[in-house]
């Protein structure tokens, strides 16, 4: 057999050409949407939107809150995203401060609880739901290690929990950040850092994502994972022997919110998406995992959610969180970063 090199080359050229053509064909109506929503929900969200607008394709870019925020900030001069759908409210307040959001009042935004909408008119961002901190405790693992069930944040600093707790890195994870921000608000600045010093002594590892501590607790890799309620409920539904603890001092929370990125070249589609995001239908969809949503009267209790969670939500000062995000993270990294997982 002899190999015909010209034929070989032609094949290569055909491949390259086919690749180019395929790329062109996909250039219809696409929206690049940055998100920190749980990966397993993305297809559902896109499908719900596409049932109204089948002509607009959503291209998801998903990562943890901190990563998406850092990415958006880094791309400030050359934005790649058209819309942000499902990113921490704190981050969006921050982006608004940087002048990166396009104000737009979606059709029907008046129906939403005003707490969930940017107070300026027209609003730069609209909220979707609240996600709330919780502690996932693996019951058999905690028993095996002889650990009492923690009832409060302060409990977690007791020596008995040494190396038994995992929490997310606030620099990368929105859940991690809302924890840190809530401790600083509840215990005061000095008390907050003193609390974290104590907690740090018990932390086995800081993870990149906010869901991972609970998933690790669900798999028995660690007895206690500081995470958020929705993740715990999902793992419990999957059969994990978890107890979802609501610490008695109160729990931090943040809202998931949406906004149009200034400079998008798909403004019409972006507005259509924003209109959908505030609908009752969309809010019912958020309610599958979040006990508190922006559309009043929609919320139904979520299965496996701990009792008293909504009442335990602290009176969150978002402006404090957004304004001090950078300095809080810098301080946190200086104090604790050597224990952090890569990223």
């Amino acid at each position: 057999m002899k190999i015909d090199i010209t034929k070989y080359m032609t094949t290569v050229a055909t491949f390259a050409l086919a690749g180019g053509l395929a790329a062109n064909a996909a250039a219809a109506e696409t929206l690049t949407v940055y998100t920190a929503v749980e990966a397993e929900d993305l297809a559902k969200y896109a499908a719900a939107f596409n049932s109204h607008h089948p002509d607009i394709e959503i291209k998801w870019v998903r990562d943890s809150t901190g990563i998406v925020t850092a990415k958006l900030l880094a791309e400030k001069d050359n934005p790649q995203a058209d819309v942000v759908w499902g990113l921490a409210g704190t981050s969006l307040i921050l982006l608004k401060g940087e002048g990166m959001l396009e104000p737009y009042a979606p059709n029907g935004v008046k129906e939403l609880d005003p707490k969930f909408v940017d107070s300026e008119v027209p609003p730069s961002w609209v909220g979707m739901d609240a996600w709330v901190a919780s502690v996932c405790v693996n019951i058999p693992e905690a028993e095996a290690a002889g650990l009492p069930m923690p009832a409060s944040w302060k409990d977690l600093t007791k020596p008995v929990y040494k190396d038994q707790v995992i929490m997310p890195n606030p620099a990368s994870s929105g859940t991690g950040f809302l924890d840190v921000s809530s401790w600083l608000q509840m215990f005061g600045e000095e008390g907050g850092w003193a609390y974290m010093d104590g907690l740090h002594a018990n932390i086995a590892r800081y993870t990149h994502s906010g869901s991972k501590p609970c998933k690790l607790a669900a798999a028995g890799e660690i007895p206690i994972g500081i995470s958020f309620a929705f993740r715990g409920a999902k793992s419990k539904a999957a059969g994990a022997p978890l107890e979802i603890v609501v610490p008695s001092e109160g729990v931090g929370w943040d809202m998931e919110a949406a906004a149009i990125i200034k400079g998008t070249d798909a403004m019409d589609s972006a507005k259509k998406l924003m209109d959908f995001i505030v609908t009752k239908e969309a809010n019912e969809m958020y309610n599958a995992g979040y006990a508190v949503v922006a559309y009043p009267g929609v919320a139904k209790p979520v299965e496996h959610f701990p009792e008293g969670l909504v009442d335990a939500m602290i009176d969150n000062d978002f402006d404090f969180a957004a304004k001090n995000r950078k300095s809080i993270l810098a301080e946190w990294q200086k104090r604790y970063d050597s224990k952090s997982e890569a990223k």
Binding site: M1, K2, I3, D4, I5, T6, Y8, M9, T11, V12, F15, A16, G19, A23, A26, T32, A39, E40, A43, K59, W60, V61, R62, S64, I67, A70, K71, L73, A74, E141, D163, A171, S172, A204, R205, T207, H208, S209, S211, K212, P213, C214, K215, L216, A219, G220, E221, I222, A238, G239, A240, P241, Q333, D337, S338, K339, S340, E341, A342, K343
Partner: protein
């Protein structure tokens, strides 16, 4: 020009032909040189210069480096990286030497089998051992007692995982080194009544010296530049490769990422240079009069070798087997029933099954384009008659990628190709940049394979063709390519498998349209979905295994036809 007139070969052809042929040849060499400059040299330059700039691109000298050494959590990683690399190198070199010794110098049974099994880690991304270790040595791991209470996350995990995936690389070098030896030296040692131990230290070890040194540097470089193992199992133990990622992806601090890259580039380049210098001193070990060494049976030694190799092979297969098992267990460790739920990648991070298809496409294109390109360039360099200086420069540039860590190359590509002023800016965030970076990343080994094969072909072919007025491209097509077919095939398989498993360079370059399977493994593990990560890692293993099997069958078929001339 003087080159051409002095050249007896080209003088024989008619004037007109000579001009065209020389033009094509020089044009080819120029294009090859330009390619390597764009794909390797310029990006590295962009990366280096970035480390001396601030966020707005102004030159600030060593300020970034001062900041780096002022941040203990960053500079601490240098000693961490060196520690794990040195410890893993010592372990791997010892084990690989013993394993290679058993294969080459004993009469142990099942040598072929052990040789094959030892290569298994090559099929898997380096993320895989980390995932397996969670199931083996994690809190609920079935072998956790072996660690005596020490956590697997961190130093131990990185060393174990690195040892797993670098083992075959060290082994292949050691087998080559131990295969060549002169039986007369052993006869002399025996005649002088040297003890077995003494013979080992005075004959065996010195004979394999260059192989061992080479293996040491290869393993050290592989471990220190690896990203997959520390990413999954590194815990709080930070190393340089993960720091680059943390800075670039986690904090979008590209300048600091560039500084850490330089820190990682230094040991890699040093190891590479020292190895090259040492190898230069190697003299031919086997003279024409050498008698190849053939081991004689020795019961105790052979049984010992068999036991050792069985344990080693068992451990390698166990790590792979655990990942396969982990991908099937429904809810570790509370529901051990098996199923394929974790293969439903659509509900996970990482891009779903599309990522796997993208990886197939990327690996296929890398193999096809990479092999064509690398072989053609190697041909021009090796058999070219003209542009001597150009060929020497290309030869040197072709060696550079071996010393450049994948993380560094990937970051360099961001700096170079994401610059709006770059006319090639259009390939950023496309499949093309993934293929380009992967070809560049694995260029050197493919190049060396091609050069070795080409050196085996006598230059007379070119002379004869030329005197028969046949242009070089016809000779290339009708003689060179068919004769080198085994090498071309193995280059293609090498590029394909590495494109499937690599994470380091592409982790900075993939886009939502071009998710890759290997990157998906990492992203799923990051989100805590460890079982689906194991499932995707196993998909990569199965894919590579299939390719290797097809390659084995195909090369047998083709070899019968094209390589018949090798038999007399």
């Amino acid at each position: 020009m003087t080159d051409a007139t002095l050249n007896p070969v080209s003088n024989r052809g008619p004037r007109a032909r000579f001009n065209l042929e020389a033009w094509v040849m020089r044009g080819g060499i120029a294009i090859a040189g330009l390619f390597l400059i764009v794909a390797v040299i310029l990006p590295l330059y962009a990366m280096l210069s970035k480390s001396f700039e601030d966020k707005d691109g102004a030159f600030i000298g060593l300020t970034n480096y001062v900041a780096y050494f002022d941040t203990p959590s960053l500079s601490y990683s240098i000693s961490n990286s060196l520690t794990v690399s040195i410890v893993a190198t010592i372990i791997v070199i010892t084990l690989a030497f013993a394993y290679a010794y058993a294969i080459t110098r004993t009469c142990m049974r099942f040598k072929g089998f052990f040789r094959l099994v030892a290569l298994v880690p090559i099929l898997a991304p380096s993320l895989l051992p980390g995932i397996s270790f969670i199931y083996m040595f994690g809190k609920k791991g079935f072998m956790r007692e072996l660690l005596m209470g020490e956590p697997i996350y961190g130093f131990i995990g990185i060393v174990l995982g690195s040892s797993f995936w670098t083992f075959p690389h060290a082994l292949l070098i050691m087998i080559t080194a131990l295969s060549l030896s002169d039986a007369r030296l052993y006869e002399a040692a025996e005649a002088l009544r040297a003890s077995k131990l003494r013979t080992f230290f005075t004959v065996t070890l010195p004979g394999a010296k260059y192989g061992v040194i080479s293996a040491i540097f290869v393993v050290f470089t592989l471990v220190i530049t690896d990203f997959g193992v520390p990413k999954v199992i590194g815990g709080q133990y930070s190393v340089l490769a993960t720091d680059i990622y943390k800075q670039v992806i986690g904090q979008q601090n590209f300048q600091m990422g560039a500084v850490v890259s330089v820190m990682l580039l230094i040991p890699a380049v040093l190891a590479f240079t020292v190895d090259r210098l040492v190898q230069r001193r190697q003299v031919a070990l086997l003279s024409a009069r050498a008698v190849p060494y053939a081991p004689k049976p020795s019961r105790g030694r052979d049984i010992g070798a068999l036991i050792f190799c069985s344990v080693m092979a068992g451990m390698l297969l166990l790590v792979l087997g655990v990942a396969a098992y982990a991908s099937l267990v429904k809810f570790w460790p509370y529901n051990l029933s098996l199923g394929f739920t974790h293969y439903n990648f659509e509900i996970m991070d990482g891009g779903g099954w599309g990522a796997w298809f993208n990886s197939m496409k990327m690996a296929g294109l890398t193999a096809l384009i990479g092999t064509t390109l690398v072989f053609t360039v190697a041909y021009l360099v090796e058999k070219g008659q003209d542009a001597r200086f150009g060929r020497v420069v290309i030869q040197a540039m072709a060696m550079v990628p071996l010393a450049v860590p994948g993380m560094v190359l990937g970051l360099a590509y961001i700096f170079f190709f994401n610059n709006p002023a770059n006319p090639l800016n259009g390939i950023y965030a496309t499949m093309a940049i993934l293929v380009l970076s992967t070809v560049a990343h694995f260029y050197t080994v493919a190049h060396l394979t091609a050069v070795t094969a080409l050196k085996q072909i006598d230059g007379e072919f070119e002379s004869v063709s030329s005197s028969l007025k046949v242009p070089f491209w016809t000779t290339f097509r009708r003689v060179t390519v068919p004769v080198c077919q085994p090498a071309i095939f193995s280059m293609a398989v090498y590029l394909f498998m590495n494109a499937m498993t690599t994470v380091s360079a592409v982790v900075f370059l993939y886009s939502p349209d071009t998710n890759l399977a290997s990157v998906a493994v990492m992203n799923m593990d990051d989100a805590g979905d460890i079982a689906p990560a194991a499932a995707m890692a196993m998909m990569i293993v199965y894919t590579n295994l299939t390719v290797v099997l097809i390659y084995g069958l195909l090369s047998r078929l083709v070899e019968k036809r094209t390589q018949a001339w090798r038999q007399r």
